[in-house]
Symmetry: C2
């Protein structure tokens, strides 16, 4: 069985972590958002890819979900001596990855090739596929600052600006990589991770061919909203700004055209009857808060069971 | 009195250090070679400027002469995990400077402006002037590898390749900065530091106007050769490859057109009679090994005394 997951940062990395522990490596592939990528201090940084890599390599910081464990901050502390921008935390070990990625990019390697090299050196056996080798940049339109880059919105301004909309700069000319297309075409099951639909999953879905392939696949999505709150990040605020209720069904509606099963948290079970429209999408309730490895593995197994039952 | 020193890396930084301790800040300025600058892991690195800055800020590593003291290597060690190139040592604190310089360059600041910001944040009160804001790259022509960059020759191959010649890529179009020209024009005394004449001082001298200005100035040079050996680095090998004797006078001859006084080590005093040609250049012998601050201050004072005596 081939499972392919679409993932953004922490939530996606957590579920991918669960799958990576229970499947034979070539059975599981992750396609990762690169709309968050940005250049900082001359370095090319891929926050979502880094988070997935660190998580799958079992070297992530379990407190934050991103960054490396046993990290030091010698460079970052010295940067402060120069009054340099300190809004994006740069750990020493994390910096090594940014440096090596930047070096390889300058040598002409693609983000796909570089990510594959990095995952090998980190001892990860699953393929981690950047959604595209083309430059796509998520731009957040805000009331306070107008259009700003995703990292400014997310990290610098701690997602407090009121969002009006999102734009994926470069998406018109961008293509998914051949590896992404092939992995999806060969997939028996596609999993939409509990990532932010606006800024983690939608960049992937906005690439040519992706939605069309998903419509012909068995697709299971997991809600990033639990009990009226986003597990992490700005999703609840984004839904509110769009005038949408902060519940799993606002997310489900964004995947309506290709979803077979949508998994919500058991705590949201009671509201199913209030929101569910006549639809062929199966709603499944289970424990979807997956902060530790056990919960990650349980959810991954649950998804496989659902696929086996309903495929 | 205004003193301006032309400097490369460690030797130049050491003598500049001495001057910085005994002169009022606006009396002393250093003009630094940028031919060694290079890009590594996407970062812009200025080895000679960094060495001068760290030395004048009293944060240099006194063992090596370059790099920072109390340095850590967390990033560098992690880079090894990725099998990244490890021939150029990158300390954590040192990296912070490279990152900030690269960030400011991308924002459009010139190397002169950036160096001035860095020296201020490091608490240095003397002006440190890059020789040019234009890109000049020292290329070393070698028997073994043909033309290679200076850092490859110097650091990667530990100056073992046999040198045929040197070329300063970009020098034809490069200009010294206005600050460099003005500081030299206002100088009462110009000091040629005990730096490598081929690859530290000659790039500065090769810029338009510099030699012409020096011919009208009182110029004191200090030998980088002591007792038939280079204090540091590849100078002895370079002289041999050029068929020149490894002694102070081979260096003096390279500055013949503008030098007033040349200072050699007292250990080289006995050979003066063998090498000195009829010349108006005064040869002065003293202790010129300046590995510690006391010796650096003594030599700086000696140079001022010589100027006062012979000006």
């Amino acid at each position: 069985m081939k499972i392919v997951a679409l993932a953004g940062g922490v939530g996606g990395a957590r579920l991918a972590h669960g799958f990576s522990k229970i499947l034979i490596p070539n059975e599981f592939t992750v396609i990762v958002n690169t709309g968050d990528d940005f250049s900082h201090f001359g370095l090319y940084i891929s926050p979502d890819i880094d988070t997935v890599c660190y998580m799958l390599a079992d070297i992530s910081n379990s407190q934050t979900g991103w960054g490396r464990k046993n990290e030091s901050f010698s460079v970052f502390e010295t940067l402060k001596e120069f009054d340099a921008p300190d809004w994006f935390l740069l750990g020493d070990k994390d910096l090594a990855l940014h440096l090596e990625r930047t070096r390889l990019l300058e040598k002409g390697y693609s983000i796909t090739q570089i990510t594959d090299k990095i995952r090998r050196f980190l001892g990860i056996k699953n393929h981690i596929l950047p959604m595209s080798d083309d430059e796509i940049r998520t731009i957040v339109n805000t009331v306070e600052f107008g259009e700003i880059s995703f990292q400014e919105y997310f990290v610098k301004y701690k997602f407090q600006p009121k969002t009006i909309g999102f734009r994926f700069n470069g998406i018109e000319k961008a293509r998914p990589t051949q590896a992404v297309i092939e992995s999806l075409e060969k997939a028996d099951l596609v999993v939409i991770c509990p990532s932010n639909p606006f800024v983690s999953i939608n960049p992937i879905l906005s690439l040519p061919k992706i939605r069309a392939i998903l419509k012909n696949k068995f697709v299971i999505g997991v809600s990033p909203i639990i009990g009226g709150k986003a597990v992490k990040g700005p999703l609840a605020l984004m839904l509110e700004n769009d005038g949408l209720p902060v519940n799993p069904f606002s997310v489900k509606n964004m995947y309506e055209d290709f979803l077979n099963i949508f998994i919500i948290d058991k705590s949201d079970g009671p509201i199913v009857k209030d929101y569910i429209q006549p639809s062929s999408i199966i709603i499944s309730t289970t424990e979807i808060l997956i902060k530790n490895l056990n919960a990650q593995i349980q959810l991954a197994n649950k998804i496989i069971d659902l696929y086996e039952k309903y495929k």
